[in-house]
Symmetry: C2
């Protein structure tokens, strides 16, 4: 199985190399992998003048799966779009048609103390945000800044076609069928036509899934409910921009965003797997970053793109065991635990797998 390793910027390289280490440890008595690295993000821009070098994009398309670190920094965000590291990711999502972004959020029993929410509210949270990733205001045309009546006007277009909504709705219902059979569709149908169509199509698709309970929430109410009663959610399906906000809010609830993986899949089952946390340039290169989100992203890769559910479970169990042993990176450190760095945490997981 051929894995494209796009480690990218900030803490991307150091966490991704721990995930590769874990996959190599698995390979000792399990599936075999070949890894090919390629630059992306600021790293891609620095080496080739393009944050998504053509060779990197082609490698990603050819590979069985993409293990992704992080792209972009606050610094490169100030450059024009075509020179921003972060834009490489947007382009790769679009190019590979990775429309279904799954972000599971679960409260690790060992890490409840890291949440800013009260224990009884956060305990047992186990939800998935399914964010549509290739449409919406992220990609809608027209867009730009023009001059009108002597002043500048900025504009963007939110936009969804029926078929774009339909395919992500199907993905949401299917995910719910594998879980607790509850799907909450989030929109702003009381204000936006795009959302009115979204809601209509989701209701239509629901007919194919009579055993899934469908509810609808406006995005503002959904954000409140996530804070108020996060356990009520099973699968949330929503558009690209609302999903960007809601998935980050949901991730932060547990207090251990350094633990959360994500998968972005296309219709062929190919996928890009990345930690939710981003590039965190302030702590890069200091052996401080938590590699577990990247390692758990590798587990999602094994399950969703590589057809290796058992290897995925082995990897997830190894993570649970190092937590149970009391090992903690600084972001999840608590009294009585043993603080370790990025590398040592990766070593501990690899050791568990041996």
């Amino acid at each position: 199985m051929h894995i494209a390793v796009l480690a990218g910027d900030g803490i991307g390289p150091e966490v991704t190399s721990q995930a590769v280490k874990a996959l190599r440890a698995l390979a000792a008595n399990g599936p075999q992998f070949t890894f090919t690295e390629a630059p992306i993000g600021d790293a891609g821009y620095d080496q080739t003048g393009d944050p998504l070098p053509e060779a990197t994009a082609e490698l990603a398309e050819r590979a069985d799966a993409v293990l992704f670190g992080a792209a972009g920094t606050y610094e490169s965000d100030l450059r024009p779009p075509e020179a921003r590291g972060g834009h490489a990711l947007l382009r790769l999502r679009k190019r590979m048609d990775l429309f279904a972004n799954f972000r599971p959020v679960f409260a690790f029993p060992e890490l409840i103390g890291a949440s800013t929410l009260r224990r009884e509210v956060i305990e047992g949270v186990d939800l998935v945000v399914l964010r549509e990733l290739t449409g919406d205001i992220y990609f809608g045309q027209p867009r730009g800044i023009v001059t009108e009546g002597g002043e500048r006007v900025g504009f963007n277009t939110m936009r969804y076609t029926e078929s774009e909504i339909r395919r992500v709705a199907h993905a949401g219902f299917k995910a719910a069928q594998q879980r607790r059979r509850k799907l909450c569709s989030v929109d702003k149908a009381n204000v936006l036509e795009t959302s009115a169509l979204w809601r209509e199509v989701v209701i239509e698709v629901a007919r194919d899934y009579p055993n899934v309970e469908l509810t609808h929430q406006y995005v503002d109410a959904a954000c409140m409910l996530l804070i108020r009663r996060p356990r009520d959610f099973d699968v949330i399906v929503t558009g690209n921009i609302f999903g960007d906000i809601l998935s980050d809010a949901a991730a932060m609830l547990t207090g251990s965003i350094g633990m959360l993986p994500s998968a972005s899949l296309n219709a062929t089952g190919q996928g890009l797997f990345e930690p939710v946390h981003g590039s965190a340039p302030d702590i890069a290169g200091k052996d401080l970053a938590n590699p577990l989100a990247s390692i758990l992203s590798a587990a999602m890769m094994l399950r969703h793109s590589l057809g290796q559910p058992e290897a995925a479970t082995r990897l997830e169990r190894a993570v649970r065991r190092v937590l149970a042993e009391g090992l903690r990176t600084p972001d999840i450190m608590e009294p009585g635990a043993t603080q370790v760095g990025t590398e040592a945490m990766g070593d501990a997981v690899a050791r568990e797998l041996a």
Copy 2:
């Protein structure tokens, strides 16, 4: 002073009448008011066929201030836009040019237990979300649902002009000057041109306020930070749709959304004052609703539109005293407190003012 009372739907009428009761109690030894009631929302639609009857809009424009309850219900949200109660509010905001929506969020020491956040995280939270209320994707043209290539496509336009951004930015800096002098501008400038212009104009306006510390956050990160470190925020300024989501998230943090008021002001200082909680039709007419958000909205009205800061402070103190006495409506009830209904809570505040 002439106050237009637009009580609207759901729990709107019962909470608004407690605010009117409190204002009448104040008037016994303070400012004098005349109140004129008019229908709006589903109530407006049922009486006149228009959720914002022309006579209601004209009354609101003529009055010194508007005391607003709530408009719309989930039921009427299913009708075409022109028949939806909720749309009356959108139209009134636009017609009166109420571009500056202030939503203060504070943790009442007496009510910390109602928050889902841990005490040490939520204690002392005191922030204001300033949401632009008359632009953005709420009102941008073109919008609609069309057929393209044999399928329907929904679309909306996010849009801000320089002058729209500038005036709300000024309002944000001025509010920060009255407070802890920190302004956080929230956008999605790494993806949206509208946000790139937003950020540029806010930075420009900042030159006039050298004593205010300006920071920028992307909307997804801002939502996380609100959950992670809500005390870090002083004033947040953002566009209409991001503000819709963030202000609800911020309001929910304290756990006492039934306590939170809001003010929507135009350039002349005229304003509409409403509780944040909405129409809550499920508990309407049952004497269960918390009237304190409406009463505190009346206090904001006294301070921001009617030039009566002392009366505002008297009203706010009266609310604090009934809380200190242990009176609680069901939404904020806790062991050891005395549960009361909407009417009794309103009576208690009026009694404190006597």
